[in-house]
């Protein structure tokens, strides 16, 4: 289907390396003995474990509950026993160990009761109910960032969504899990899209596919014909990295630019990944939570690159061994070569956002980093239209205010600038550094602001107390003076003090007993209405 497309600024034509992992159909990876499920798998708050060590769990059983708004639950990917809840290595750029639930599978794959959770007639549910199902199924954006999907299905007050985009661009080299999913599960994706469309109450839907994924496009178009859903369009977009970046994709398809520092919802667009749509379909129509995903295992360190449907929690190393670990397997990257991150040890589990495991040989010696020659190639490829070299100067000089003047936070870390830099400067690394420093500083500032406010309030409180004491003493002195002046007895002093206190209480009572102004000067009708309400309230009180 042809549609008008808009050009994005910058970008790169990258070698794809996609065919190597698409030669065979996706198969399910064998059930692993041990499954490790990190409680924190995406931005936001970590889930909270609701099982204990030694508990037996069933496949699909919730084992950790959402904890906070930006949080999603985690489910047991198979039946078995909880053998540990402890810190384990997780796929994270820092190599940090985080809390994980470890399940030893019993090999029975025994499902939890799911018959009652199927919602084939989801059209009768309102969007809030659908969001709850999606949240309870633990669904997050499966494209990479892993933002809880139910939040993106809640436009919030005052926002009108006119376009729902399914992102099947998959513009990074090597990764093919979305392409394979679109080829193999196109109906499921469209079902998921329909559910999201219903939840958002939006008319127009677009599925965007890069034009190098012919098979995926064909399968989606065929599936659509069966559905007779003419409100959904499958649009091929030019293969250009990062065409699948959310902001870039929206620009390509609608011509609209998401405001700097804004969200797609600000211009009436919601964007989800195709794999997320499939997961939503599974959750709503089949009642099954998110416990597996398509993962691409590829790179020159893999003998038979392919896509696998993997239970969450399966170790990378098992998958690499399954696909043939070659002697070039030196570097392990989760995600693509442009935006993924390297992990030191491949003994980490697949998590919800693990779209690709790229295993390759490592350069023996990194290139010598030359000074910036200001050639400006970085600015030409930057899809956010930034000036990467200026950002680099300021980030390097730790001049973080200036980096923000140059819109550091509009950087999507796509890596285009680093890819083309003839001086081989790791530009994105500098931007990540600057962002982290700024966040840390802001955190510090927030903390110190709170501390300062507390301190200031304490000072204020102490001074107020002091002033009050002074005032009390002064009053007492005055009273004494007066009494002494009249040469009255001690009882009189006491009496005067009591009188004064009583006067204060009276004044206070008077102040409190002032009735609201809007119930004076009422008409008869209003008085009756009030009486009626009062009696009703009384009745309710009595009943309860």
């Amino acid at each position: 289907m042809s549609a008008r497309l808009w050009k994005i600024f910058g970008g790169l034509r990258l070698p794809g390396f996609k065919a190597m992992s698409m030669s065979q159909a996706t198969r399910a990876a064998p059930l692993a003995k041990i499954l490790t499920l990190p409680l924190k798998q995406h931005i936001g708050d970590a889930a909270e474990a609701i099982v204990k060590v030694g508990d037996a769990v069933l496949k699909g059983q919730m084992i950790a509950a959402a904890n906070g708004y930006v949080s999603t639950p985690i489910h047991a990917p198979t039946s078995g026993k909880i053998i540990a809840i402890e810190k384990r290595q997780t796929p994270h750029p820092s190599g940090i160990s985080t809390d994980c639930i470890v399940i030893e599978s019993d090999g029975k794959e025994q499902w939890i009761e799911i018959e009652n959770t199927k919602n084939a007639n989801y059209r009768q549910l309102d969007s809030s109910a659908l969001r709850n199902i999606i949240r309870d199924a633990g669904i997050v954006g499966l494209g990479g960032a892993g933002f809880p999907s139910f939040i993106k299905l809640n436009p919030g007050p005052g926002n009108v969504v006119d376009t729902l985009i399914l992102n099947g661009a998959e513009c990074e080299p090597y990764i093919t899990c979305d392409a394979m999913l679109m080829q193999e599960q196109s109906r499921k994706i469209i079902d998921g899209l329909n559910i999201m469309r219903h939840a958002l109450q939006v008319e127009r839907c677009i599925i965007a596919v890069e034009d190098n994924k012919r098979a995926a496009h064909t399968m989606l178009v065929n599936a659509l014909q069966e559905h007779e859903a003419d409100y959904i369009k499958v649009i091929q977009i030019p293969t250009l990295y990062p065409a699948g970046g959310e902001k870039q994709l929206i620009k390509t398809l609608t011509g609209k630019e998401v405001p700097s520092n804004g969200l797609p919802i600000n211009i009436g667009v919601v964007c989800h990944n195709v794999a997320t749509a499939a997961a939503i379909s599974t959750a709503v129509l089949e009642g099954k939570p998110l416990i597996s995903r398509y993962v691409t295992i590829t790179g020159n360190g893999i003998e038979q690159p392919c896509n696998l449907e993997v239970l969450l929690g399966t170790s990378f190393s098992e998958l690499i061994d399954l696909c043939g670990r070659s002697n070039k397997a030196e570097q392990f990257i989760m995600g693509g070569p442009m935006m993924g991150f390297e992990i030191a040890d491949d003994n980490v589990p697949v998590i919800k956002t693990s779209n690709c495991i790229l295993v390759q040989s490592k350069k023996t010696k990194p290139d010598y980093v030359m000074p910036c020659i200001r050639c400006g190639q970085c600015a030409e490829v930057c899809p956010a239209q930034l000036l990467p070299q200026q950002l680099y100067w300021y980030a390097r000089a730790k001049n973080f205010d200036k980096t923000q003047d140059y819109n550091l936070f509009d950087c999507i870390e796509c890596g285009c600038c680093t890819y083309v830099c003839p001086s081989h400067i790791p530009l994105v690394q500098y931007y990540r550094f600057a962002k982290t420093e700024i966040w840390a500083q802001e955190q510090e500032k927030k903390k110190s602001d709170i501390a300062r406010q507390r301190h200031e309030f304490r000072q204020f409180r102490l001074e107020r107390k002091k002033a009050e004491n002074e005032e009390r003493k002064r009053q007492k002195r005055e009273l004494l003076k007066k009494v002494n002046g009249e040469k009255d007895s001690a009882e009189d002093v006491k009496k005067a003090a009591i009188e004064a206190a009583m006067a204060r209480v009276k004044a206070k009572r008077k102040a409190q007993s002032v009735s609201p102004a809007n119930i004076t000067n009422l008409t008869e009708e209003q008085k009756n209405a009030i009486a009626e309400i009062d009696s009703r309230r009384k009745k309710v009180k009595e009943e309860s």
């Binding site: 442009m338 030191a344 030359m370 000074p371 239209q385 081989h424």
Partner: protein
């Protein structure tokens, strides 16, 4: 444990050395024609300047305790030396090229922080220094093709300042077309009168020999744009501004102001536009900034050529605009993605 790097993990195979090599290769056609018309002095100057530049570069890198290999192989020192040598008159003593190259590398490049940090184009700093310090040597040119000097004559002059019997330096050297038109316009002759009186000097459009050299540098420059080593913005805006100035004044008084073609194809116009002004380190960074920067150079060239004290003006125009680069960069920030929607 191995060091973990941040993404991206792939890169194109571009690097500074390849870029500089491409620029040097693109200079070859123009240089060959230059040698054809003005003798082997061009080549001798290039060799002397390159050797001096490499020696100075290595020495300073050692003193600054920087790795020598990457900075020698980056080719910037060699390119600086070649550009300087191409700007020199062709019959000069050896020390002129050596001094210029040494000054360019040591003073204009390394004292400012080395490759990537120098605010001024090193080759043009070297050239400007020589022009001010040695005006006589720097303004005496031999005639195109008819100079009659072979390689050994030139080499002999370069190192011993002796000419073949029967030749004298003063008789051999003469003014360039740009220089003579400037002098004679000030004497009250019209452009046509000057051209007709010196037909052999002025050639078809902008000076015998010079026009061909410029055409070859133009071709080399276009190749650089096509292979994306340089951007079109600076050359186009610089030549455009120069042509625009020439057009306005030539249109108003064709007798006192030479035509566009003369300005574009004489002197170092094309060399300057495609190879000197495009030095990324010292030029403006954004495309909009580059247009402003190039236009500034073009306008300054015309002003200095027409009313200034020097016949050609690439070096001073480039250096003056180098000074303006930080300001241009500051005011030519492109709008960021999504900025148009900001309220």
């Amino acid at each position: 444990m191995s060091i973990i790097h941040s993404s991206p993990y792939i890169q194109n195979n571009e690097n500074v050395s390849r870029m500089m090599l491409a620029v040097i290769l693109a200079l070859i056609p123009g240089t060959l024609v230059y040698i054809h018309f003005f003798g082997f002095g061009v080549l001798i100057n290039i060799i002397i300047a390159v050797i001096t530049a490499i020696v100075c570069e290595v020495t300073v890198l050692k003193i600054r305790q920087r790795p020598v290999k990457p900075f020698i192989y980056d080719g910037t020192a060699v390119l600086t030396a070649i550009l300087l040598a191409l700007a020199l008159p062709t019959l000069t003593p050896w020390w002129l090229a050596a001094l210029g190259a040494g000054f360019a590398i040591i003073i204009a490049k390394h004292l400012y922080g080395g490759m990537g940090y120098n605010p001024f184009n090193p080759a043009m700093v070297g050239y400007a220094m020589l022009l001010i310090a040695f005006p006589k040597e720097m303004t005496a040119w031999i005639p195109a093709e008819t100079h009659g000097l072979n390689f050994f004559d030139t080499l002999n002059y370069s190192f011993f300042e002796t000419l073949p019997a029967g030749m004298s330096y003063d008789a051999l050297t003469m003014a360039t077309p740009l220089d003579s038109i400037k002098t004679q316009l000030s004497l009250g002759y019209t452009v046509d009168e000057i051209k007709n009186a010196n037909a052999s000097l002025f050639g078809n459009i902008a000076g015998y020999g010079w026009e061909w050299i410029n055409i070859m540098f133009l071709i080399g420059g276009i190749i650089l744009i096509l292979i994306k080593v340089i951007n079109w913005h600076i050359p186009v805006s610089m030549l455009g501004a120069l042509a625009f100035m020439a057009m306005i004044f030539n249109f108003s008084d064709a007798g006192s102001y030479p035509p566009i073609s003369f300005h574009l194809f004489s002197g170092a116009a094309m060399l300057g536009a495609f190879f000197i002004a495009t030095d990324p380190v010292t030029a403006a960074a954004s495309n909009k900034g580059r247009l402003i920067y190039g236009a500034g150079i073009g306008i300054l060239i015309y002003i200095i050529r027409t009313w200034g004290g020097y016949p050609d003006a690439i070096a001073f125009s480039v250096l003056l605009m180098n000074m303006a680069v930080p300001m241009i960069d500051y005011y030519s920030k492109p709008p960021v993605f999504g900025a148009t929607h900001e309220s």
